[in-house]
């Protein structure tokens, strides 16, 4: 029986990993409920977001009736979502959990996130960017409250653009032309990267912008059409750029990409608004060299963008104090003090889902990295262009993974982008059917 025993022990070790997470979750909560005193309601809050501790401290200082116990957890794909799912299965999820937009439908279907439609106040609703709230609402039921929403923008190297005499492209046609120009003028450099891995894939945001509707719930069933006409258009556009070798094709979460940015090999970064702050921290040496412009458009007369990144807060079904949890969430997403506390933990260029808070962000943001550019005025404009009606799928992490696996093979020279998209659809349908969901699909 070669290896059988060793396999078992490996499996045991692997099984033990999430277990210890769940166990520590239990003990964490046990301790907090024991500490509650009469009069005050204690709630627990899990997040991977930076600055959460500062926000919680500020909340606890200014509130008597509700006190929050915060636990920093790993980011979603690093195990945070698994931890949340396991805790919910064990019946001891925190009162408030942090969920990114693509994962909301999944957590709503699994019964982790609570339907908070009746609890969310009209004043808060009125403050939120409608498109952001739309992403957390299904069949008229809201499952979480957006903190930030991140329109896609084009970060570009102003110094290199000037050096090569390039103009900021306003349409995707100009962008493609520019990609060739860059290749011609600087053979080692490329205009952009097509990421093969990527956290919440910019590819989805490109398709979103182009008018794709990967998932549609308007007819009472999950209609899945990953390879619809706008997606095919986007896929063939990038496929052409890849085939002509005018863009880089590699992973974004890699040392290779870090080097491409650090060495000025890639001239633009097509990512969400948040990436401006992330860039300042990752590459302090490039201060003053970057600027931000709107994402190129397909049709300038009907501008649209998708989003890339952004987080929301959900009240869990396990929560014994949903009203207190909601009070904390409302304060956290809409109170200027909450935002100030968050920003005190370091530079951030998040775009708040409550646009009324933009002045706070603008004031706190150090503009010198972007040569004095007022990036928040740009973000304001772009956020309003977010195309309404996009719906993420019920198992978006898995769908995205299958697509990425396909993209990785494309970069290895096998298949095409649209093949990868179709494979993602084929790999998603059985999953949805096994959940008992009503599904329809369109492959064209």
């Amino acid at each position: 029986m070669p290896g059988r025993r060793s396999r078992r022990s490996v499996l045991a070790a692997m099984a033990a990993l999430p277990l210890t997470g769940a166990l520590s979750a239990c003990s964490g909560q046990g301790a907090t409920t024991a500490g509650s005193t009469s009069g005050t309601t204690r709630i627990t809050f899990w997040s991977a977001l930076r600055g959460s501790q500062q926000v919680v401290d500020a909340f606890n200082r200014t509130h008597d009736r509700v006190q929050v116990d915060f636990q920093q957890i790993p980011s979603g794909t690093q195990g945070g979502y698994a931890k949340l799912s396991n805790a919910a299965r064990a019946g001891n999820a925190p009162d408030v959990a942090t969920i990114e937009y693509p994962q909301i439908p999944g957590f709503a279907i699994d019964g982790v996130a609570r339907d908070i439609s009746g609890m969310i106040s009209d004043t808060l609703k009125a403050k939120l960017l409608p498109q952001a709230l739309g992403l957390t609402t299904f069949q008229g039921r809201t499952f979480s409250v957006p903190l930030d929403v991140e329109p896609m923008v084009m970060h570009y190297r102003a110094d290199l653009f000037e050096q090569y005499g390039l103009h900021v492209p306003r349409t995707w046609d100009e962008f493609a032309e520019l990609a060739h120009t860059v290749r011609r003028k600087a053979p080692k450099r490329r205009l952009a990267l097509f990421p093969t891995d990527s956290l919440a894939t910019p590819f989805a945001a490109y398709c979103w912008q182009a008018g794709a509707q990967w998932f549609d719930t308007s007819h009472g069933a999950w209609n899945v059409s990953l390879a619809d006409a706008p997606t095919r258009r986007v896929a063939s556009y990038w496929q052409k750029l890849m085939d002509e070798d005018v863009v880089f094709v590699n992973a974004m979460d890699s040392r290779q990409y870090d080097a491409q940015v650090a060495d000025g090999l890639v001239l633009t970064r097509l990512t969400g608004a948040w990436d401006a702050g992330a860039q300042m921290k990752a590459q302090p040496g490039l201060k003053g060299k970057w600027r931000i412009a709107p994402l190129p458009q397909w049709d300038e007369s009907r501008p649209a963008v998708g989003t890339h990144g952004g987080s929301t807060f959900a009240v869990t079904k396990d929560s014994r104090h949903p009203e207190a949890a909601m009070e904390f969430i409302e304060w956290q997403v809409s109170h200027p003090d909450a935002l100030r506390a968050r920003l005190s933990s370091g530079a951030s260029s998040q775009y708040p889902a409550v646009p009324g808070l933009v002045p706070v962000d603008r004031k706190a943001f150090d503009r010198s990295y972007y040569g004095g550019q007022d990036i928040y005025t740009l973000f304001d404009q772009e956020a309003r262009k977010i195309r309404d009606g996009w719906v993420w799928g019920p198992r978006m992490t898995a769908t995205g993974k299958v697509m990425q696996d396909g993209f990785a093979r494309v970069s290895g020279g096998q298949g095409s982008l649209i093949d990868a998209v179709r494979a993602a659809q084929d790999g998603t349908m059985p999953d949805l059917k096994a959940l008992g969901l009503s599904t329809t699909q369109h492959s064209t």
Binding site: G3, R4, I109, G220, V402, R409, D431, K433, A434, L435
Partner: protein
Amino acid sequence: MAATTQHAPPAALPGTAPAPAHRTRKAARRRQLGACGVLMAPFFALLVTVFLIPVGTAVYLSFYGDDHPGLGFGAARTIFVGFRSYTAVLTDPTFLSGLGTVALYCLVYIPLMVIGSLALALLLDSGVVRLRASAQLGLFLPHAVPGIIAALIWLYLYTPGISPVVELFAKADITIDFLGLHTVLPSIVNIALWSNLGYNMVVFYAALQAVPREVIEASVVDGAGPVRTALQVKTPLVRASIVMVAMFTLIWGLQLFTEPMLLSQSSPMISSRFSPSMYIYDAAFTRNNYSLAAAASVVLLLCTIALSYAVTRWTSRLDRTEEAR
């Protein structure tokens, strides 16, 4: 346990007359049964707790699942879902491609493993090799390394940028990517071979020790050279071991998990559903679809049982035809 101890023989009462013969026989039989029960009890207890109950749970989970009607935002309830999860698994191209990957893996791995370890065992047995004990130890040592550590070692040797092997090749102007699209499967086969070759070699070597020396002497007297002795005399005599090794290697191969799971950390060419076992893990822990994971496990179990049965049947038929000859 409690049930079996009931069979324990009652202590003989002092002062009773010697029992008639048939009664002593009966008592001895009962004692034997009792001993049997006591000795087998741990085995059955373990069989039930670590095999039958988990398998039963998996079968149950595959037929009962959370049902999310409509868009799924309403309350879920656990219902009997029939073959829904099985239909989903069997129509999932990512699961089927995982099965294909494992089939290809077994086709490459099993012959290499069986032939390689048998050849090594025959070499050691023939006495050609000096320092037999140290050679055996050296070959066996990798098996003592846990699979996860082995995968880590090889991950280091395979990953471009940190691997001394890749660097060495690069110095000789050979670019080699062990984790590329077409090289990743051979790379996994290599890890498995390295880990298990020594173990199977020991199995074969032990079997060869049991071959009667007279038979070998007879073949030598009849003029067979060392190669012919090895291939035509010794090998057929250890056929039972060959079948056993092939079968265990097959079972282990079908459950391929550790190596690709670890290598997937550094190669995008290994998808999260690379093998059926990885598919099951992904279904349970990424997709939170326990019913689907359970159905996939049962399918994999049935494949394993069917293939093992086929191997047994095939070899026993070979035995029979041999006997008939």
